[in-house]
Symmetry: C2
């Protein structure tokens, strides 16, 4: 029996083969046609091309857990402007984000004890129940040294990240940075203002 891993690879390669058969975007230029970039969450329910109306070639799309202004997201935005000319950036976080259900400290504790997928009992996250003989690989104190970018208040998180990006010393002051919240239940974007 194929593992989940190889099943997913097989499905991806089959979908890709069909995609390539009618592919006609081979001459798109590298710089985004609409000169903007989107920073949003990795959440599986969100498709930025669909909810923001992006065609291939239009815009850079940066995604991570939470859609947060991590150092790496800011690295990507600086590259986006410095080498590919975007001048207009959108930070889009969302309702129902898993990053708002846990704190950095809780993540560190859960990972220190067990690396396997936690379960949510309606109130909090718990590590999976195991027999003591299970061969699990507990995490190290490394988890405590990582900034997990959890979200306390969604509105504040968007505003804080917009400010962090706009005030970064390697970001020119003429770049526009706009904060938005995506509602996973309605598909609607709304603008976040201070």
């Amino acid at each position: 029996m194929a593992s989940t891993g190889s099943k997913n690879l097989t499905a991806i390669m089959a979908a890709n083969s069909a995609y390539a058969e009618t592919f006609n975007k081979g001459d798109l230029p590298s710089p985004p046609a609409k000169r903007f970039a989107v920073l949003t969450c990795m959440d599986a329910r969100m498709d930025p091309a669909k909810f923001a109306g992006l065609s291939q070639g239009d815009a850079h799309v940066i995604r991570n857990a939470g859609g947060r202004a991590s150092d790496d997201a800011i690295r990507s935005l600086i590259i986006s402007h410095k080498f590919l000319g975007t001048t207009d950036w959108f930070v889009i976080q969302h309702t129902g984000c898993g990053m708002a259900t846990v704190t950095d400290q809780q993540i560190a504790e859960l990972l220190r004890d067990d690396l396997e997928t936690a379960e949510h009992n309606g109130e909090c996250w718990l590590n999976p129940q195991r027999e003591s003989s299970d061969n699990h690989k507990p995490g190290s104190d490394l988890a405590e040294s990582i900034c997990w970018h959890t979200i306390g208040d969604l509105h504040q998180s968007v505003l804080q990240d917009v400010e962090l990006i706009a005030n970064h010393p390697l970001v020119p002051s003429h770049i526009t940075v706009t904060g938005l919240i995506y509602d996973v239940q309605t598909g609607l974007l709304s603008r976040v203002s201070a």
Copy 2:
């Protein structure tokens, strides 16, 4: 006249309004249905949902400049497994990536002198030509302290990032990590093996 910034915002909100009118994904669960995650580049020409056949709800999508295994991408992957149960991860970098046209040292030098968009003269990147009276905001030495994750050899970059992720102390050993290269001229994915 509207700035590029507000024009893009207006276009995004109009597209989003149309999207929300027929939105029917409000009850999708948060954990990815296909239990996998994709790490790929922010490149505007690439739409992972299309080239990998993803439907909304299927998979996490993490994107940054280069599709590199940065600390933040690994943070997102660990969250993806620990809280949302993915067990199968794909690292997808691509041909024609801007990150392969420059070195970390060159990025630092270009940013130190000028934050505005560089031009490529066919051989190398150059800062924009300015009158000495221009009010530009030169970067600081900060750029030299940042890992820009530029790419020397594409094949090696994918392999190196797959290894980095698979061997991370907070990644369980049963997670499968597969390296792929996306060809921007054909739309085809190909698997990268050591």
